[in-house]
């Protein structure tokens, strides 16, 4: 079996349409619509849930691939990745149900490849830095926002379901932090490369100013993604790391 597979080798049912996220962004721009619609709208919520669902599928595949791509990694590392595959498969089911709850189905919207692209690192330390700290950290931000949207809509089905998922994501980030440090012990250069890989992932998901620190948002209409400080602290991010992410989000917003 081939290691380090590109996104087009991922198996998908034929009713799925997978595209580059840049192309999806261009198509939204072409329609002259506001790219950041209010997330309280039913259709926007459905599209968001579909995006998270496909993200969970790719996260499940990514954790499985990490297990397969690095057979010489410590046994405990492999066990953590196997646990993560199981968690992500449950998340996939949860979001499948939430999507149906909102009247949507798998395949109703485009799937983008960006999460998978961010998982392309050939060192396990960089891989977990990018996936477990970068992408799962992003999941903490997205779920924190989704819980607030559900609370505002008075929807305790989504609120509780996402809260359960968020609890898992926090453990995934912790795993990432643990293994990024453990695998790079005594090798500061390797640690630096892993952190740089994570920074590049974080930069992609600053969404050109779409993700910000809560204190940087003057009028919170719910359209911007906020950096979930509390969840990130629970997940083992240091204050310094959160400040670095905030600085990077401010830089993105300036462009």
């Amino acid at each position: 079996m081939q290691k380090f597979i590109p996104v087009d080798r991922l198996a998908r049912p034929e009713n799925m349409v997978v595209m580059r996220s840049r192309q999806v962004r261009d198509i939204r721009d072409e329609q002259n619509l506001d790219r950041r619609e209010l997330p309280f709208d039913e259709e926007a919520l459905r599209a968001r849930l579909h995006g998270i669902l496909t993200g969970e599928i790719q996260a499940m595949e990514a954790a499985g691939r990490t297990l397969f791509d690095f057979p010489d990694a410590p046994w405990e590392f492999q066990l953590d990745m196997a646990r993560q595959v199981w968690d992500e498969s449950r998340h996939t089911e949860i979001f499948l149900r939430l999507l149906e709850y909102m009247g949507g189905h798998l395949g109703d919207y485009i799937e983008t490849e960006i999460l998978w692209r961010c998982a392309q690192a050939n060192d396990p330390a960089a891989r977990v830095a990018g996936i477990n700290r970068g992408l799962e950290g992003l999941a903490c931000d997205v779920f924190d926002q989704l819980i607030r949207i559900a609370q505002r809509n008075g929807d305790d089905v989504i609120e509780r379901a996402v809260d359960y998922v968020l609890a898992d994501e926090i453990t995934h980030v912790r795993m990432g932090s643990k293994w990024m440090r453990k695998l790079t012990e005594g090798d500061p250069e390797r640690l630096k490369r892993a952190q740089e890989f994570q920074d590049s992932v974080d930069e992609v998901f600053n969404f050109r100013g779409g993700r910000r620190a809560r204190e940087d948002i003057t009028n919170d209409t719910g359209t911007l993604l906020t950096i979930a400080r509390e969840a990130r602290l629970l997940a083992g991010f240091t204050e310094e790391e959160i400040e670095r992410l905030i600085a990077s989000s401010r830089k993105s917003a300036a462009y």
Partner: protein, 129 residues
């Protein structure tokens, strides 16, 4: 192997929202596009495209015509990006290799038009080389 149960019996929350309706005019345009492709009507296919996509659509129609003749068509996938739809269609015919196309439909001046196309006949995805 742990017993995972019979998952189809597991109840999830009941839907609270209606399925968003698919515009029938859009579906009609999609079927017509596939029909013209299947019959090799290059000019008719081109007429369904917006100005900027006409050359690309003509090339696709020519490719379909050269691949073979088809008597069956089906819509395989239908995914949306806001108000535009990506449709994956398959044309089949006896003794002919299936022709798979992905095309985007959007409204222009009240009519559903083809904005872009991707020939997926020998590819796994839209960006497979």
């Amino acid at each position: 192997m742990p017993d995972l149960g019979f998952r189809k019996n597991v109840m999830g929350p009941q839907p609270i929202a209606e399925r968003a309706p698919t515009p029938p005019e859009m579906l009609g345009a999609a079927k017509q596009f596939l029909e013209f492709l299947a019959k090799g009507k290059v000019e008719d296919v081109g007429a369904l495209a917006i100005e900027n996509a006409r050359d690309e659509v003509n090339r696709l129609a020519e490719a379909a015509r050269q691949t073979g003749t088809y008597n069956q068509k089906r819509i395989v996938a239908l995914a949306r990006i806001n108000r535009h739809y990506w449709i994956k269609g398959e044309l089949t015919g006896a003794g002919t290799k299936p022709f798979i196309v992905q095309f985007r439909l959007g409204e222009q001046d009240g009519r559903w038009k083809v904005w872009e196309t991707i020939n997926l006949t020998n590819a796994r995805s839209a960006w497979t080389r």
